[in-house]
């Protein structure tokens, strides 16, 4: 699939993006442990350390309320390089 997304024009990404997120995608072959490893790897990404990112939704909302700020929500996937 990574090969597939490189083959398609940028405009295709909208339709492929969530397909990559699909829970059933190769799920039978993929080990949940491996997915947890990938998730943890994503959560330890360098960009998350360079600013005060929160990954807990409730905490983000509480912090926004306490600080009088809006939430900048960034949605990504764990199995992308």
């Amino acid at each position: 699939m990574e090969k597939l997304i490189r083959l398609v024009p940028w405009g295709m990404v909208w339709i492929l993006g969530l397909a990559f997120a699909a829970p059933g995608f190769a799920q039978d072959q993929e080990d949940q442990e491996e997915l947890v490893v990938r998730q943890q790897k994503k959560l330890s990404s360098e960009f998350l350390k360079r600013a005060s990112w929160l990954v807990d939704y409730d905490e983000a909302r509480s912090r926004a309320k306490a600080d009088g700020k809006l939430v900048f929500a960034y949605f990504t996937r764990s199995y992308e390089p």
């Binding site: 909208w14 339709i15 997120a21 699909a22 059933g24 799920q27 072959q29 997915l35 909302r61 949605f75």
Partner: protein
């Protein structure tokens, strides 16, 4: 962009929240992107302190682009507050505008949206139809979200989609395209040819005003057919 120092500086003006869609079982927030009107990844949106959508980011992924979306979100938030105040003071026109904006931003579940629309008297037929369309699209998003969050199986998601479609509710072509591509891909991985063929048929039945999107879907269908032919 998110790695750069200017972004870290911008980040101090907001609360930064990262939602990682992981396919890990038990991750209940995987479908949240769809509640916030996101249909592609990565996706960025500005939310209020309750997590309600104010503005999807549609511009450049740059600090200037993010600042622009943040400003738009603040304007929307201020506009919502004005409409709310006027409505509380008896201005029904503001109440209608408020309902429309909040339905468009998916501040309510589809069920709650339907109740609010049913209880709001005085809307003309065209506006009621538009607001119904917003709710219908939120209903489709709810199905997609439940599927991505794994609270619906592939078969149940399709059954719910078809049941909703039978009521006359229609998704936007882009949303329908995402849904059926998602179904097809998962069916390919399960080697369920019946569902792959169904999804391809549905994809082929979609029409797009944007010729590039139409071409993209055509290519997606071709790739799916190649996957079937190769037995992958």
């Amino acid at each position: 962009m998110l790695f750069q120092d200017p972004f870290a500086e911008f980040g101090k003006s907001v609360t930064l929240y990262c939602n990682v869609i992981s396919k890990v079982k038990g991750d209940s927030l995987q479908g949240m992107i769809l509640e916030k009107k996101g249909y592609s990844l990565p996706y960025i949106a500005i939310l209020d302190e309750q997590g309600r959508l104010l503005a999807p980011h549609a511009g450049k992924n740059s600090v200037d682009g993010f600042k622009s979306t943040l400003e738009k979100a603040k304007e929307v938030q201020a506009h919502l507050a004005v409409l709310e105040r006027r409505f509380k003071n008896g201005d029904l026109s503001s109440g209608a505008d408020l309902l429309e904006l909040r339905l468009d931003l998916r501040h309510f579940s589809p069920d709650e949206g339907r109740k609010r629309l049913a209880n709001f008297a005085g809307l003309d037929q065209d506006r009621r139809a538009l607001l119904t369309q917003y709710i219908d699209r939120a209903s489709y998003a709810e199905i997609f979200g439940s599927y991505v969050s794994k609270t619906l199986s592939l078969e149940d998601a399709i059954a719910r989609y078809d049941k909703l479609f039978a009521t006359g509710a229609r998704p936007a072509s882009t949303e329908a395209g995402t849904f059926w591509y998602l179904m097809a891909e998962d069916a390919v991985s399960r080697k369920d040819l019946r569902i792959v063929e169904l999804a391809i048929k549905r994809l082929e039945g979609l029409t797009f005003e944007d010729s590039e999107l139409a071409n993209n879907v055509k290519m997606a269908v071709q790739m799916l057919r190649q996957q079937i032919a190769s037995g992958s």
